[in-house]
């Protein structure tokens, strides 16, 4: 849907980025100064590239060769800025309707803005501000939504307050979303596509599950954040225990909480460090999920860890064990082992709808 292929030199910094963002959430990930905001600004028309092309569907926003460069006003990019940028002299209601009243009732409802309408931005908490900014962008009926680290300035409770809204958005609004973040768990939870930037270049891009389990991406993410993302289906609910049963090609998994409607597809991130391997089926153990898996790869890292690639059914899992354990258990490629996944070890933010 969104096609970006641009070059721009900003002083000593050179941006050279090409990627395609399909419908759903495309996360742009990278450390500070890697060029994330510049990319989003170029899409929104706030930064003019030196070369290249930007298009949404078949609407060309920028094309150097055809000398097309739509003004921001005509791009229909809903931009949620990192610093909210609410108009301080207007009520929340006037802020919201500034760009239009598209789908007003539902936006106010989805984002829970009903009680805020008559307040002024200065009186809002950080989380409320971001929700209003999001609502304002949505009500301008954008063809694409761009969010620049909308949660970065917020503390954990505020983040937890907003993430569900963004998820509902992704599921209910049928426009591509460009989501800038440097938080892997946010990315894993929200994104369908992941673009990783480093020093103005795309170093990896593709479906989020694929990119996150690429070994060469691990150092960009930090060791603790590597892990597989697997699409599953909600197969049942164990009401007494408050658990949800999920199935995938490799078997079934029980997760705490209410994770969607029966039959719905969900995406589950299973961090490599939360997977325990056992050579015998474990007994009398509090971890609910034991999968029979086959080792597909063993990669020695720089530290004391060994990354173990696993196949469960047709899906890929990733486990990280110590070298000592790997040796003691005699792990080898092709070996059949048991993967123990502790149900509580996957926190709510790692479960995406």
């Amino acid at each position: 849907m969104l096609h970006v292929a641009i070059g721009k030199s900003l002083g000593a910094f050179a941006l050279n980025v090409a990627f395609d963002a399909p419908a759903g959430v495309t996360a742009v990930f990278g450390r500070s100064g890697s060029g994330k905001t510049s990319v989003v600004n170029a899409v929104a028309g706030l930064l003019q590239p030196d070369a290249g092309k930007i298009a949404v569907g078949d609407k060309v926003l920028y094309d150097r060769q055809c000398r097309i460069n739509l003004r921001p006003q005509h791009r229909s990019v809903g931009y949620v800025f990192q610093d909210a940028r609410l108009f301080p002299h207007m009520s929340v209601h006037r802020n919201l309707t500034y760009g239009g009243t598209h789908d007003m009732a539902r936006v106010i409802d989805v984002l829970g803005l009903g009680d805020l309408l008559h307040r002024r931005p200065a009186g809002l908490s950080g989380g409320e501000k971001q929700r209003v900014a999001l609502g304002r962008a949505l009500m301008s009926a954008p063809q694409i939504l761009a969010m620049d680290e909308p949660l970065a300035a917020l503390d954990a409770p505020r983040k937890a307050e907003i993430l569900p809204y963004i998820e509902r958005l992704r599921d209910e609004v049928q426009i591509p979303i460009l989501y800038v973040s440097h938080d892997v768990s946010e990315v894993a939870r929200l994104a369908t596509t992941l673009v990783i930037l480093e020093a103005g270049q795309v170093v990896a891009s593709g479906p989020v599950g694929t990119v996150l389990s690429r070994p060469d991406v691990v150092p960009l993410l930090g060791v603790r954040d590597a892990g597989a993302v697997i699409g599953m289906k909600v197969a049942g609910r164990l009401l007494d225990d408050g658990l949800t049963e999920l199935t995938f090609s490799g078997g079934r998994i029980l997760m705490p909480g209410n994770l969607g409607k029966l039959g719905q597809s969900v995406r589950l991130r299973i961090p490599a460090q939360d997977v325990i391997l056992a050579t015998e089926p474990p007994k009398g153990i509090s971890a609910l999920n034991v999968l029979s898996v086959t080792i597909t790869a063993l990669e020695q890292g720089r530290g004391p860890g060994v990354a173990v690639g696993l196949r469960a059914g047709t899906d890929q899992l990733l486990a990280r064990v110590t070298r000592r354990s790997a040796g003691r258990m005699g792990l080898a490629v092709g070996q059949q082992v048991y993967a123990i996944i502790k149900a509580t070890a996957v926190g709510p933010e790692d479960i995406g709808g």
Binding site: A44, P72, Q73, G78, Y79, F81, D83, R85, F87
Partner: protein, 231 residues
């Protein structure tokens, strides 16, 4: 003091108020436009414009008055055009007094407004752009409301200056009672007659009260506005 003011003095007070108000109101849009140009745009001649705006501050007021007379007199380059095309005469009319006052107040107004424009967070304007607002809508709904306190400060400063202007006014439009005699030129005249001091004091007090009143009101308004923005 006040009771020593005759009808001519009261006429001067009314006229001064009218002149200062009209000068301020008419100069304001121009001052805003010039301040905007100076704050936001870079174009050849920018420094020239900046210099031109400050000119009335530097020149002795009488010189400004003469320049106005030369430019806007009936024989003047601009005066002739204004008269021939629009039938407007400025010289020796209260409208000319307003022009003189406006020109003298102009640098003060531009400076105050320019600072306010420079302080506006352009990120807010960008946000409005991405929401599809046209330039004019952005100006009217974002920039203008945000610089209102600065505009207010500039207007009051200009108003005070316009109330006090003498040299350029008396040179450009003389001091015809009821037509172009403002408070300062009435003061000048009263200083020429024996025993005029009482009325002079009355006029001085009145112009100080008017200017200070405007000043206090503007500080109070600015305070309220910034409160409304939640700062």
């Amino acid at each position: 003091m006040i009771d020593q003011l005759g009808p001519a003095e009261w006429a001067a007070i009314r006229l001064s108020l009218r002149v200062a108000l009209v000068a301020t109101i008419c100069a304001l849009p121009v001052a805003i436009a010039v301040a905007y140009l100076l704050a936001r745009k870079s174009f050849p001649g920018r420094q020239l414009l900046n210099g031109l705006v400050h000119l009335p501050l530097v020149l002795p007021p009488v010189v400004t008055g003469y320049l106005l007379l030369v430019l806007f007199g009936r024989q003047g380059a601009l005066g002739a055009v204004l008269y021939d095309i629009f039938g407007i005469t400025l010289a020796f009319r209260w409208t000319g007094a307003a022009l003189a006052a406006a020109i003298m107040a102009f640098p003060l107004m531009v400076r105050a407004i320019r600072l306010a424009i420079e302080a506006v967070d352009q990120g807010l304007e960008q946000a409005a752009e991405t929401l599809g607002a046209s330039r004019w809508r952005i100006w009217g709904t974002i920039t203008l409301p945000l610089i209102l306190p600065g505009i207010l400060a500039g207007a009051v400063l200009g108003f005070a200056k316009a109330l006090g202007e003498f040299g350029a006014t008396i040179t450009f439009v003389a001091a015809i009672p009821g037509q172009t005699q403002t408070i300062p030129s009435a003061i000048y005249g009263l200083l020429q007659v024996p025993g005029g001091e009482g009325a002079v004091t009355g006029l001085v007090v009145i112009s100080v009260v008017l200017a200070m009143g405007a000043l206090l009101m503007s500080e109070w308004l600015a305070h309220r506005m910034s409160k409304r923005l939640g700062r």
